[in-house]
Amino acid sequence: MDIFGIPLPALLSQVLLGLVNGAFYAMLSLGLAVIFGLLNVINFSHGALYMAGAFAAFIGVTRFGLDYWTMLVLAPLAVGLFGMLVERTMLRRLHDLDHLYGLLLTFGLTLLLEGAFRSVYGVSGQTLDVPEALAGATDLGFMILPNYRAWVVAASLAVCLATWFVIEKTPLGATLRAGTENPKLVEAFGVDVPRMVTLTYGFGVGLAGLAGVLAAPVINVTPLMGSNLIIVVFAVVVIGGMGSILGAIVTGLALGVIEGLTRVWYPEASEVVVFVVMVIVLLLRPAGLFGKETQ
């Protein structure tokens, strides 16, 4: 069966590839939105920490002989701890200043992290093997489904939805949302807001680290993999707006699929299609699809 001259299996495999990318967009923009909500900081180093997560998995598996599943837990924890350290020692000092300084600080951290990994691993890519349990592919009849890709999409979706559930439906999330609205008042109720901020930042970048581990077996692990991705994720955030958690997830996945479909019909444009969508959204709905305009 063909759709506009493209065989269905080829089309579906590109959609799946788009979903994989979209899952990464969703996880990263979700982390950015959570961090922005509480810290008012756009975390430029999000991409670099995603890269650090992928390298942590690579180092854990090749150097220390740990397996993928252990690193799936350890790498995000390590990235999260690093993030909490950064928040405690650096970001906290900028809290009362213009938001631009947070962006500039995290940009500097990005250069620092990329430079550090570059001086050790160079610019050429490393690869990580797909774990045995998820190797191979399943024949669905209408298409061949690589197991690992299915796992990436399922795992990221589960993590995103769990995050959404915790933030929107539990008492913990209610405190968090209250802290976003009015930190002074929440503090007056006896909540340790500075600790909450630290933990939130740690969680947000931990998500980036987790995305990095999930990505490691399907892409080339290079020191620059993060910054190329973060610029696209910024566009995703501009499109979706950072007001809504569910909005960030949906926008991320949808743009991944749009990118995948573009690769089928017009491959040259697939690198820029997200930016083109951003331009269209800015023209038609300047506040973003799910955004409430804030300063």
């Binding site: 900028l94 200043l97 500039l104 250069l111 910054s227 566009a235």
Partner: protein, 328 residues
Amino acid sequence: MTRKIVYAALLLAALLAPFVGYPVFLMKLLCFGLFACAFNLLIGYAGLLSFGHAAFFGGAGYVAGHALAVWGLPFEIGILLGVLAAALLGLVMGALAIRRQGIYFSMITLALAQMVYFAALRAPFTHGEDGLQGVPRGTLFGLLDLGNDLVLYYVVLAIAGAGLALIVRTVHSPFGQVLRAIKDNEPRTVSLGYDVDRHKLLAFVLSAALAGLAGALKTVVLGFETLTDVHWTMSGLVILMTLVGGMGTLAGPVLGAFIVVALENKLGDVGRFLAETTHVEWFASLGESVGIVTGLIFVACVLLFRRGIVGEWAARFDAHAYRRRADL
């Protein structure tokens, strides 16, 4: 009075510099100085953090280089075309980016500049990864041979000086005052009846055009243009230059540009020196680790040194300037 003496001394130093230093390196410093000042016009006076200025710098460089190398146009026309291209690009990017404020503005400029980067990577006339090579310098008005480093130096000095003068004039004009008002309190500026968007857009186009002038000049000076100039790291570098020198000061960005460019060029030497004196092998590779060093300076500046060199100096010795900039 002291001010006049300082300016006269600076002018004299600029005129005599090519007899002491290497003219091509000095011209590169001038180009980056102008680039940083153009960027500072936005962040320092209108409070807009553009993360996409590489698009104008590199974009104009490609257009000017193509006009000179392929179309064989004279120097003046080539530079002018580069500036026009940057201004036009600035008009489009600015019109889109000012639809959102604050942090979103920065993200939009970054994303749009990334589009320009991909365009430069794929377009045939930029020669992709190889870059645009062999850009001739030509002659100025058919009279002055720009192939001579010394002649070109004075031409670049004059053009960069004119660019700086334009920025100084803009900052002190009524238009510049409105920009400052927008930076300090945008809603109030709106309620005073100013068309904030039009002011922002005009500032953005002016900044883009001047950044383009710097990029076009740099292409002619070095004779080539590569993807480095349109990459986001270049946008980051110009932010660093401005931050090191002092945002919102007139002299700061020039000083910052000199420091950052000199540091990039001499980092290898510094590393080798450190490796020899301390016997730590790692320092020898410092030349390849520009990212680590620039990243460290970035973090240190933001945490400890937000006013930049000129800003700190003004805060210490000029109480009036300190009060004005107390918001930092």
